[in-house]
């Protein structure tokens, strides 16, 4: 392995460590159940930008951490990256300092070991592409670092093969000096004792941060389920939307706004965790749009009242309409900002004129009004989404990274 490729590997490892550290410390900050900005830039130290949404989506996804049922928020996978990159920094530094005195097996091991971060990055890239539909810049930084590390290690390995060919397969003594022990390119042979030790070291480095993180975790159980409850569990005129499947068991009240990005993300998390189908949902639409919602002075999500009516008019297909609204939220939001007619046209294109006629009916407006009054009667916070299990509120803090842990504590049956 040439000193240059080792140097590149060192830089790649340091960058990987930096990005993995950012990700880890961002994650750890959230263990206090408060809202925090997320660092999300491939430029270290850059200020928070809109791209943080993608990092937040990645952080809140089921793929961001392991053992989410055992620990609140789980053990973030970035911890393993931190440990592994520490090892690769150390090992590449060893190769840089050793230069052409570095044992062949060290170079070979290094090339082989870097397949782990490359493979992990490929896997996460694939998940980002197919499951999240967005790329978090910090994650991209880790993917690039891993790739660079893998490529430099591969180049070093290929250089080694050239050396072996040039030396006719000879190896030197582990104590030999290259200038006196057989000529240039003759590397010492360390036998088979070192590679297992390096492998153990890599494993220990990779696992140690996760072990330390898990052992220091605060106990979140006292904080779960202390966020209020519904005063009125049923809407008097049965106006709320009911959604259930043959697997539904847990009576759940949801307050959602079809134009709210957080609701969309939350809905997707419930689906990804295979939880939504186990909930016996009564959905109270709570559009954050002053056109129908008197609790707001300005429309936070223009057009949300119109889309909410479309969901009501979905009848037995209400879930499909809601999920369509979530999937097409960007288009609907854009149309909503352009005006009512543009938004109605988008809805008509998908659901037909009958839905539009239904949306114009006085009865539909009254039903939506009843949804809003249900929220007012319960004195819920003016925010979405909100989830209540058997009338008991799921804290906002538990609807993202702590979702699986909280479900395991409050309603383990929905995780089975």
């Amino acid at each position: 392995m040439t000193r240059i490729s080792s140097l590149v590997a060192l830089v790649a490892s340091l960058l990987g460590l930096l990005f993995a550290s950012y990700s880890t410390f961002d994650y750890a900050k959230h263990l206090d159940r408060r809202l925090h900005d997320i660092h999300c830039s491939i430029i270290p130290g850059a200020p928070v930008t809109d791209s943080a949404d993608a990092c937040r989506a990645a952080m809140y996804s089921p793929y961001s951490a392991l053992m989410k049922e055992k620990f609140w928020g789980g053990v973030p996978i970035s911890l393993f990256a931190v440990g592994a990159f520490c090892f690769f920094v150390a090992f590449s530094l060893y190769l840089v300092v050793s230069g052409d005195r570095a044992p062949r097996k060290a170079v070979q091991f290094f090339a082989l070991a870097t397949l782990a971060p490359v493979g992990a990055s490929l896997l996460m890239f694939f998940i980002s592409l197919t499951k999240l539909g967005t790329f978090c810049l910090i994650c991209v930084g880790i993917y690039i670092s891993s790739t660079l590390l893998g490529v430099s290690a591969l180049l070093g390995y290929l250089g080694l093969r050239g050396e072996i060919r040039a030396s006719g397969g000879k190896v030197g003594s582990p104590y030999a000096r290259p200038d006196t022990g057989g000529g240039p390119g003759l590397r010492p042979d360390v036998g088979w004792t070192h590679p297992p030790a390096w492998l153990v070291a890599l494993a220990l480095f990779t696992l140690a941060p996760a072990v330390v993180y898990a052992s220091a975790m605060p106990d979140h159980r006292p904080y779960l389920g202390n966020c209020g409850s519904l005063k009125v569990q049923e809407e008097a005129a049965n106006a709320l939307i009911k959604m259930s499947t043959p697997r539904s068991t847990m009576p759940t009240t949801l307050f959602e706004d079809p134009m709210c990005p957080t609701c969309k993300a939350f809905h997707e998390r419930l689906l990804a965790e295979d939880v939504f189908d186990k909930l016996k949902v009564q959905l109270s639409l709570f559009p954050l749009d002053s056109e129908c919602n008197w609790m707001l002075t300005d429309p936070l999500h223009p057009g949300a009242c119109i889309v909410a009516k479309a969901v009501i008019c979905g009848g037995s297909q209400a879930r499909q309409v809601l999920e369509w609204a979530y999937e097409n939220q960007e288009v609907l939001t854009k149309a909503g900002k352009q005006g009512k007619e543009q938004l109605r046209a988008v809805i008509q294109q998908k659901w037909g004129p009958a839905t539009l006629n239904c949306m114009d009916e006085k009865q539909t407006a009254q039903t939506l009004n009843r949804h809003l009054h249900f929220a007012a009667d319960n004195g819920i916070p003016v925010s979405t989404p909100q989830m209540y299990f058997n009338g008991k509120r799921f804290c906002d803090e538990d609807t993202d990274i702590g979702l699986r842990y909280t479900l395991g504590q409050i309603a383990p049956e929905v995780l089975k």
């Binding site: 460590l17 206090d32 408060r34 440990g83 104590y175 480095f205 008097a236 916070p381 003016v382």
Partner: protein, 241 residues
């Protein structure tokens, strides 16, 4: 061979540097991670002082909900036994005089902000039946609830006839509005929303100069002192109690 049996000068430098760097790096990371998690745990145990206040969902509260207006509304809705399915519905004019403690004119002025929100249902002389215009106006007003919690019906009678008869008549008029809402809306909780007040002909008669200008159920027909007081004013009220 030079150095055989012992490491050549510098041969162990690489491993030593690597091991030292690895130990320092992983050590520093472990301490930092432990510290970050512990610090989050400490913040978790400390109540957040600068937590932004979140608005709480509630019924609407309009500017006209003055203490005096609320006093009238509360008495009508609660003290007179109008709500929660209790048997007695409505307040007598005498009750109004007692609890409102205000002049007729001031009493009517309380409702002035409801001009656009409400409607005046007009009746034939001595009758409490609702015509089609009255039914439509009631249904329209009922449908336009927005954030209101209560629907108030204030029924009157013109001065024609005896006070007792007029009191009974205005009572029936208030009930006719209530029954129509109940039948047309099909809602099970109408009882919990509608407050009835019947004033007969003794208290707070409407001035035709002003109240004939308000939306009524017989647009285009003659509206005078008698006509405007053979009425029930119906409106959602955007006040919290």
């Amino acid at each position: 061979m030079s150095g055989e049996g012992k490491p050549a000068p510098g041969a162990t430098l690489g491993p030593v540097v690597g091991i030292a760097a690895g130990a320092v790096l992983i050590g520093a990371m472990l301490v930092s991670i432990h510290s970050a998690v512990k610090s989050a745990g400490e913040r978790l145990a400390t109540p957040e002082t600068d937590k932004p206040a979140v608005a709480i969902a509630d019924q609407a509260e309009a500017a006209y909900c003055t203490p005096q207006f609320k006093q009238v509304l509360e008495r009508v809705l609660h003290s007179c036994g109008l709500v929660e399915g209790q048997s007695r519905r409505g307040c007598k004019p005498a009750d109004v005089k007692t609890f409102a403690s205000i002049s007729d004119e001031d009493f009517n002025a309380l409702f002035r902000p409801l001009r656009e929100r409400g409607g005046v249902i007009l009746y034939d002389t001595g009758m409490e039946e609702l015509d089609d215009g009255a039914k439509k106006l009631i249904e329209d007003r009922w449908a336009d609830r927005k954030g209101a919690r209560y629907f108030l019906v204030v029924a009157r009678a013109s001065k024609t006839g005896s006070p007792d008869k007029n009191q009974a008549l205005s009572h029936r008029r208030a009930n006719s509005v209530f029954m129509h809402i109940k039948e047309s809306s099909g809602e099970p909780d109408v009882d919990k929303k509608v407050g009835l007040l019947w004033l007969g002909s003794e208290y707070a008669q409407l001035d035709p100069k002003e109240f004939c200008q308000w939306t009524n159920s017989r647009a285009g027909t003659k509206c005078d002192d008698d006509a405007v007081n053979r009425s029930a004013f119906a409106s959602w009220v955007d006040c919290r109690l």
